[in-house]
Symmetry: C2
Subunit: 557 residues, 2 copies
């Protein structure tokens, strides 16, 4: 893809399609490559033991002399979380708005690569040249974190617009409505291709304004008799601002709890995205010194994550903050799919303590940061793209977004529903699928990046279901007879004390199998091991309908 790439525009994703997470989109024209976002993804349920997942960036590493920069659209983990890993392999400049850069710098500092990274802060007036053929400009959007932008990449084939994550909020908390006029202008000048956020493509109507949540929060503060604890996403600075405002309105001091909440509040305050009166914030140690009706707490843990601040408070295992009967807890978030049960348990625990719990199932204390169908159609109508690629979503969301695009007049043959690695090539105003690019999931487990593959995951799955039996025996070098063993050690299989008989029988099965092998003069270890594994597996399945992993170990002396 080097020579024939000249004079051709190519768009593809290394992550973010057919999934929610690890967003990474690429626009390439000839020898100029620009990357939009570098996210991480949290592991799927079947990725046992995995901490995070990042995109496979083999293509970028192989073409690193062409990569002109990475643009980060906003500061969420699924857009910036992969940077510490990516930047270890690629020495390229990064571009982000002030708040996004603040959050990135914190991340790079922790990874010890801050000073090695070339960083450029951009805003909606910036124009940056990326190589000899590409130019990027930006427009502000509304999202659940401030300073989010969409990107316009001007290419010799035409303009490519990437929305970032967005909704339209007509009454945003910081007063900064999206750059509607700039979007309109882009549309008027003509856009070749739009890449737009599909997260909420299944939802009808417009997504509500963030400020309506403020009203809900105020209402709860007004009625609360004792302390108010608000749990939300640490990065939702608008939400935090509204809690700050409620504190001012109702005369409460605010304690900030949870590592990432403290971190974001500091960065956002320093950079001017969060406005907190200097005497409003109190230390967690002071919570108990003030009357309960003069205190509020803002905290992480809105997803019921086991180690988070709210979960620890609910389980009475938080070092500093205790929730008492009569306190009010607001869970200002909706469950991310998969977290419903965890959140349910946290709510149960809080109710058990005797707290009043206000959560999205019963009250209006959350809105999404992603646009619903009417937001998406408004974006399409503003940008008026010739071609459309729905991004940032699982397949049904991409597909539904494509239908929306069709409904507002994008020609069906001009809509490309892609998977990660699918390329769309544009030449002379025409588009078609190009060659596939290598992509995939790189699994991070502890400090290991990519060393856990399918075999390891399959073994973890097996081990998690029925455990393991290790069968140990020692053979004589001289005549192949058993010198010691067979011994069976089991973990995660049965509770040994209650299953002695079963394990005794298993032992006999192994001994019998060995005898049989010897009679038949089987002496290759591989065959012996296979025989033991098969005989034992059959016996256990028949007896107890379980299939533990069986690991025969044969020693020779």
């Amino acid at each position: 893809m080097t020579k024939d790439q000249r004079g051709k525009l190519s768009i593809f994703a290394l992550g973010g399609l057919d999934e929610i997470g690890k967003n990474m989109y690429v626009v390439q024209y000839g020898n100029d490559i620009v990357v939009i976002d570098s996210g991480l993804m949290f592991p799927e349920e079947e990725m046992l033991g995995i901490d995070i997942v990042i995109p496979d960036i083999t293509y970028l590493v192989e073409n690193k002399d062409k990569v002109r920069g990475i643009i980060l659209t906003h500061g969420h983990e699924d857009h910036i979380g992969g940077l510490p890993y990516i930047l270890r392999q690629l020495d390229i400049p990064i571009y982000a708005t002030k708040l996004t850069m603040g959050l990135i710098e914190h991340k790079l500092r922790e990874a010890n690569i801050l000073s090695d990274t070339r960083r450029y802060v951009i805003n909606n007036k910036s124009e940056i040249r990326l190589g000899s053929t590409l130019k990027a400009s930006f427009f502000y959007t509304n999202h659940s974190i401030p300073d989010s932008v969409g990107v316009c990449i001007d290419t010799p084939e035409g303009a490519v617009v990437h929305t970032g994550d967005f909704k339209f909020d007509m009454t945003p908390v910081n007063g900064q409505v999206a750059d509607l006029h700039k979007m309109a202008e882009l549309g008027k000048k003509g856009v070749l291709c739009l890449l737009s956020d599909s997260t909420n493509a299944e939802r009808t109507g417009f997504t509500g304004s963030e400020s309506t949540v403020g009203e809900g929060i105020n209402e709860v503060f007004r009625k609360a008799k004792q302390r108010v604890i608000v749990a939300t996403f640490a990065s939702n600075i608008h939400r935090i601002q509204q809690v700050v405002n409620a504190c001012q309105l109702y005369g409460r001091k605010l304690a900030v709890v949870g590592r990432s909440m403290v971190n974001v509040v500091n960065i956002a305050s320093e950079l001017g995205y969060l406005h907190v009166p200097s005497d409003l914030i109190i230390d967690t140690d002071e919570i108990n010194r003030l009357p309960a009706n003069r205190v509020a707490v803002i905290s992480t843990g809105s997803q019921g994550e086991s180690m988070s601040a709210l979960t620890r408070m609910a389980n009475a295992s938080h070092r500093k903050v205790e929730i008492l009967p009569g306190d009010t807890v607001i869970i200002s978030a909706t469950p991310i799919p998969g977290n419903e049960k965890l959140i349910g348990r946290t709510v149960d625990q809080l109710f058990r303590i005797g707290a009043d719990v206000v959560y999205s199932k019963t009250s209006h204390v959350h809105v999404s940061g992603h646009g619903s169908q009417e937001d998406l159609k408004l974006m399409l109508n503003l940008i008026k793209p010739k071609f459309f690629i729905p991004i940032h979503g699982e397949y049904r969301m991409l597909r539904t977004h494509a239908q929306l695009a069709e409904s507002v007049g994008v020609r069906p043959e001009n809509i490309f529903i892609c998977d990660n690695g699918d390329t769309v090539e544009f030449t002379g105003g025409r588009a078609r699928y190009g060659p596939k690019i290598q992509t995939g999931k790189v699994l991070v487990d502890g400090l290991g990046v990519g060393d856990v593959g399918n075999i390891v995951l399959r073994d973890r799955k097996l081990l998690s279901q029925d455990g393991i039996l290790v069968v140990v025996l020692t053979l004589s070098k001289a005549n192949g007879t058993i010198v010691s063993g067979p011994d069976i050690i089991s973990r995660g299989f049965v509770y040994v004390r209650e299953s002695e008989q079963l394990l005794d029988e298993a032992n006999r099965i192994v001994a019998l199998t060995m005898e049989k092998c010897m009679k038949e003069h089987v002496s290759e270890w591989a065959s012996l091991k296979t025989s033991i594994r098969e005989a034992l597996s059959k016996f256990l399945f028949e007896r107890i309908r379980r299939r533990p992993m069986i690991l025969p170990i044969i020693m020779e002396v």
Copy 2:
């Protein structure tokens, strides 16, 4: 609890409180015990490898001469699924309505205990004596399976009413409105204590009528150009009836797919709960012989379960039925918490095939079978109990249901929010908490019932996170030196080929540890093993931040 039990009424749950599943409630007066429901629960995420969970019935086994019968309120697994296990330990008669009994009989036949079980079919006219002091009568309710009943147990202390699972449906599919008059009569005569279904206590309003779903389904049938595939819960016979009706209305034949769907359709048709014209049903082999617009399929798999019919169809791995572009698939169910992702993946696969997918997020094709807040208040107002115990729900649901009861006039001190095993004792019109009864979760894994406990589960969890390293070495009996090894075998830890260096180093760590032990004349195997485990664990955590299970095996020759 024998002598002082005389003249005292006691109510408690062995399952169903602070959980959704394994419902089992007990009403005891003196020497007479009656059990209501015997459900199973599907395992929580952390119960690795477990198939199902049933209640601990130690109390019933210890008092088996007093147990007069088990009443089954309806045919759902969380109410009847534990019977095959329970009845192996308790020889007591069971009471259920005709359809419920049909489903139970199928279950007991499979478990080979049908002929050993005394079975009595009841209806809303039945009155059954249970021992010398208790008498049960029944009233029909509306639920997502026909023939559901609530139970009234008359005791010397007063009437105890158990609602079963219910909602109020003013336009039910089978025309059989709940026994409102009988409930009103019970309320008028006076009810001591009500136990009522809390599943939807968090939802405002009334739960919609099942017949509104029929309209949604008809609408989809009307528009569908090719085949229509409907996935729903096998036990939702009303829903199946409405699909049958839609087939008649729009001239389609119906194929029934999925083991439990075939089973329920057969039982329900035989017993007269499902009305299917004899020429409507076709064999799955005939699906492809008929024009696509003359065929519909009803199937299991509405929860995206990996082995279910719909999931296999979506993955093109079903032996008989293939879904083609242009087919319409209705997922007539909402995700049970925890299943959101599985269902999402199935919908994605169906979209990929090119099917039109109609699901609850985008269309009205499902209603719940459990009453919302207004249904629950109506039940409370009809029954007018003196005491109230919310049942069938996680803690927050019980708690919210208690608030509803208070709002319609039940005195707060007369509401008992219980956990499984908590007893409420009634004497002379007063109630208080009594002694705690043994309860718990009995885990079923394959054919093993209760042989997997916390240690086994903890090991499975450990194994699932970072796998296992088995360290094998052979020592000389003579002088304690290493004769062979150390050998390290890993499973589920790292991909060995890419981590040779790490494993080599691990090997050296073990060898060094052994040397050190020998110098220090440590020779007890337990100490040697601990030293190896600790040294290796420390090394691996520092190097790669993982904590695999380490299993040292020392042999002596």
